[in-house]
C-alpha cells in the first residue's frame, strides 16, 4: 500500500512551503504585530491596563509615553479590543525576529497636563480633550468648581481638595 503511495507522491509537488524563499500567506483575521495609529491614540493607557503580558507600559515623566515591546507581546489582541479609538490594531506581519532587542519597541509620546496641586500627571492632553467633550453633555449637573478641578488637578489632589472643603464646611 505504501509502495503505491510512494510512487504517487513522487509525482506530486512537495507538501512543505519553501519559506523563507517564498512568502507565506496568512488568513484574514490573523493576529500579528500590533501597530499603533499615532493620530487616533489619545494616550489613555487602556491597552496597557488590559495587557496580560505587561508588554505595554505607561511612563509619565516629561510626557506620557506608551511603550510596546514586541519581545513580550503574546498577540492576544486584548489591546485591540480595549481601544475605543481604533488606535491599535494587529497587523498581518509576523516576521519580528531581530538581533537587537531595543529595535523591537514602539513608543507613543503624548504631551501631558500637569496637576496644579502636586505637579504630577493628570492625563495626556488628548485624553483631557476627550474628557471635556464627554462631560460637556452633563455639564449642568456638575458644580462649576468641580468642573474646573477635573481639568486642573489630578485625582489625588481633587480628593484632598474635596476633603478640605468638607472639613472647612463642617467647622465654619
Amino acid at each position: 500500500m505504501f509502495a503505491l503511495e510512494a510512487l504517487k507522491m513522487l509525482l506530486k509537488k512537495p507538501f512543505t512551503w519553501k519559506y523563507p524563499f517564498e512568502p507565506i500567506e496568512v488568513p484574514e483575521g490573523f493576529r500579528g504585530k500590533p501597530e499603533y495609529d499615532e493620530e487616533n491614540c489619545i494616550g489613555c493607557g487602556a491597552c496597557a491596563a488590559v495587557c496580560p503580558a505587561e508588554a505595554i507600559t505607561v511612563t509619565e515623566d516629561a510626557k506620557v509615553v506608551l511603550t510596546l515591546s514586541y519581545a513580550d507581546c503574546t498577540f492576544c489582541a486584548d489591546c485591540e479590543k480595549a481601544c475605543q479609538w481604533d488606535a491599535i490594531t494587529l497587523s498581518k506581519e509576523f516576521e519580528l525576529a531581530t538581533l537587537d532587542k531595543s529595535q523591537a519597541i514602539v513608543q507613543i509620546e503624548r504631551e501631558k497636563n500637569v496637576c496644579e496641586g502636586c505637579g504630577g500627571t493628570i492625563s495626556a492632553v488628548e485624553q483631557m480633550d476627550w474628557i471635556k467633550e464627554e462631560i460637556s453633555e452633563i455639564k449642568d449637573n456638575i458644580p462649576a468648581d468641580d468642573l474646573e478641578a477635573i481639568t486642573k488637578l489630578c485625582p489625588e489632589c481633587r480628593r484632598d481638595k474635596a476633603a478640605e472643603n468638607i472639613i472647612s464646611e463642617v467647622y465654619s
Binding site: 500500500m1 496568512v26 488568513p27 490573523f30 493576529r31 488590559v50 496580560p52 503574546t74 492576544c76 489582541a77
Partner: protein, 382 residues
C-alpha cells in the same frame, strides 16, 4: 542485582522534561519511579495576581496543544462561580474548537507514536494531514496555537457563515485519510507486533488510579466527560464513546483513531446546527463564589476550580490536567516490559508534562546516585 537506569529529564525519546528511573533485571523492567518535579511553573500562584481575562491568556499557555481546552475550562469554572449564562452560539463555537483541537491532537499523537516506533513515514503523513486542521484553526481563530477564542461569558470571535461549507468539505476529506491510518495501525504486522500486548494497564489498576481519557477507555474504564457531564453544546450532538478492554498500547491507539471519526462526526453536526445569536454574555458584577469546570481534553479529563472573593482577581485557582492521573499509571504499564518498549509506552498515554508540572527550580538529586553535569557528559562522550 537490579540495574537502575535514569531516563530524563532530557531524553531523546521524550520531548518534555521529566525524571524517570527504571530498575531492570536483565531486559525486564521490575520497578519504575516517576519524579515530575524537574520543572514546575507556578502558574496557579501567578494566576492569583492577574485579572480573570488575563488568566485566560496565561492558562492558554499551560499547554500548546490544549490551548483551547484550558482557557475554556477556566472560563466555564469562572462562569459557574460568577453565575454567568453563556449564549448558545458561543457554546457551539466552543464545541467546534474543542473537537478541531482533538482531531489535531490525536493526529499529532499518532505521529509521535509512529516516530517512537521508528515508523517515520507515518509521522510525515500524519503531520502533513494535521497541517490541514491547523490551517482551519488559524482561519477561525487567527492563530495556529494559542487561539484566544475564549472570554469569560462566551467567545471572542464568530465563525463566518461563508466559511462553513469549506470547513465541511475539509472534514469530509479527512475520513479516507483516517481510514488509511486506522488500517496501517491495526493491520501492519510490524506495528501489531510492537503494540499488541505491551504496556498493559488492567481495568482494576485503571480504576484504582482514577486514570482518564483514552488511556482509561482503552482499559475498559468507561469515563468520558463529554457524555457524563456535558458542557458547551455536547448535550445537543450525538456521538459514541469507543471503549476497548485490552488495555495495551494497541488499544490506546485504536481508541484514539476511533475518536477521530467521532470528532469529525460531532464537528459536522455542530457546524450544520450552529444557531444564530450573540457570542458573549454581559457581566454586571463579580459575586463571591466557587465553580468547577470539567472538560474532556484529547488526553482525558481537565478540571479547573475557581474561587472568587468578589474582586477582579481570583482567590484560588486549581488546574488538573489529564497527565496528572495518567502518569502514575505508567508504573504498572512499564513493569514487566522491556527497555525497548519504554518510549512507546510512555508516548502511549500521550503525556503532557507541561500540563502536569506547573515553580521553576532546577532539580538536584542529593541521594547516592551520581547525576552528571552537562560538562561531564560532554567530556565523557565528546
Amino acid at each position: 542485582m537490579a540495574l537502575k537506569i535514569p531516563i530524563g529529564p532530557q531524553h531523546p525519546a521524550l520531548k518534555e522534561p521529566t525524571n524517570f528511573s527504571v530498575e531492570l533485571d536483565g531486559e525486564e523492567i521490575v520497578d519504575a519511579y516517576v519524579k515530575p518535579n524537574y520543572n514546575h511553573r507556578g502558574m496557579e500562584r501567578l494566576a492569583e495576581e492577574k485579572t480573570y481575562p488575563q488568566v485566560l491568556v496565561l492558562y492558554e499557555r499551560i499547554c500548546g496543544i490544549c490551548s483551547q481546552i484550558h482557557p475554556q475550562c477556566f472560563a466555564q469554572a469562572t462562569e459557574d462561580a460568577l453565575g454567568i449564562e453563556v449564549p448558545e452560539r458561543a457554546n457551539y463555537i466552543r464545541t467546534i474548537m474543542c473537537e478541531l483541537e482533538r482531531v489535531h491532537s490525536h493526529l499529532l499523537w499518532a505521529g509521535v507514536g509512529a516516530h517512537e516506533l521508528g515508523f517515520d513515514t507515518g509521522l510525515m503523513y500524519l503531520w502533513r494531514d494535521r497541517e490541514a486542521v491547523m490551517d482551519i484553526l488559524e482561519m477561525i481563530s487567527g492563530n495556529r496555537v494559542n487561539y484566544k477564542m475564549n472570554t469569560i461569558g462566551g467567545v471572542r470571535r464568530d465563525i463566518d457563515e461563508r466559511k462553513i461549507p469549506m470547513l465541511l468539505e475539509a472534514l469530509d476529506a479527512y475520513v479516507p485519510q483516517v481510514d488509511l491510518y486506522a488500517n496501517a495501525f491495526t493491520k501492519d504486522p510490524t506495528l501489531r507486533a510492537r503494540l499488541e500486548g505491551s504496556g498493559i494497564l488492567t481495568r482494576k489498576e485503571a480504576d484504582e488510579l482514577c486514570v482518564a481519557g483514552p488511556t482509561a477507555r482503552a482499559s475498559g474504564r468507561d469515563v468520558e466527560v463529554r457524555r457524563d457531564d456535558p458542557y458547551a453544546a455536547y448535550e445537543e450532538v450525538d456521538f459514541e464513546v469507543p471503549v476497548v478492554d485490552d488495555g495495551d498500547i494497541m488499544a490506546r491507539a485504536v481508541v484514539r483513531l476511533l475518536e477521530l471519526y467521532q470528532s469529525i462526526n460531532i464537528l459536522k453536526q455542530a457546524l450544520k446546527n450552529i444557531p444564530e445569536g450573540p457570542i458573549q454574555a454581559d457581566i454586571d458584577e463579580i459575586p463571591e463564589g466557587e465553580g468547577v469546570g470539567r472538560i474532556e481534553a484529547p488526553r482525558g479529563e481537565v478540571i479547573h476550580y475557581v474561587r472568587s472573593d468578589g474582586s477582579w482577581y481570583p482567590e484560588r485557582t486549581k488546574v488538573r490536567a489529564p497527565s496528572y492521573v495518567n502518569i502514575p499509571a505508567l508504573i504498572p504499564m512499564l513493569i514487566g516490559d522491556t527497555v525497548a518498549e519504554i518510549p512507546i509506552t510512555v508516548a502511549s498515554i500521550d503525556p503532557c508534562w507541561s500540563c502536569t508540572a506547573r515553580v521553576a527550580i532546577v532539580d538536584t538529586n542529593k541521594k547516592t546516585e551520581k547525576i552528571m553535569t552537562f560538562e561531564e557528559i560532554r567530556s565523557h562522550y565528546g
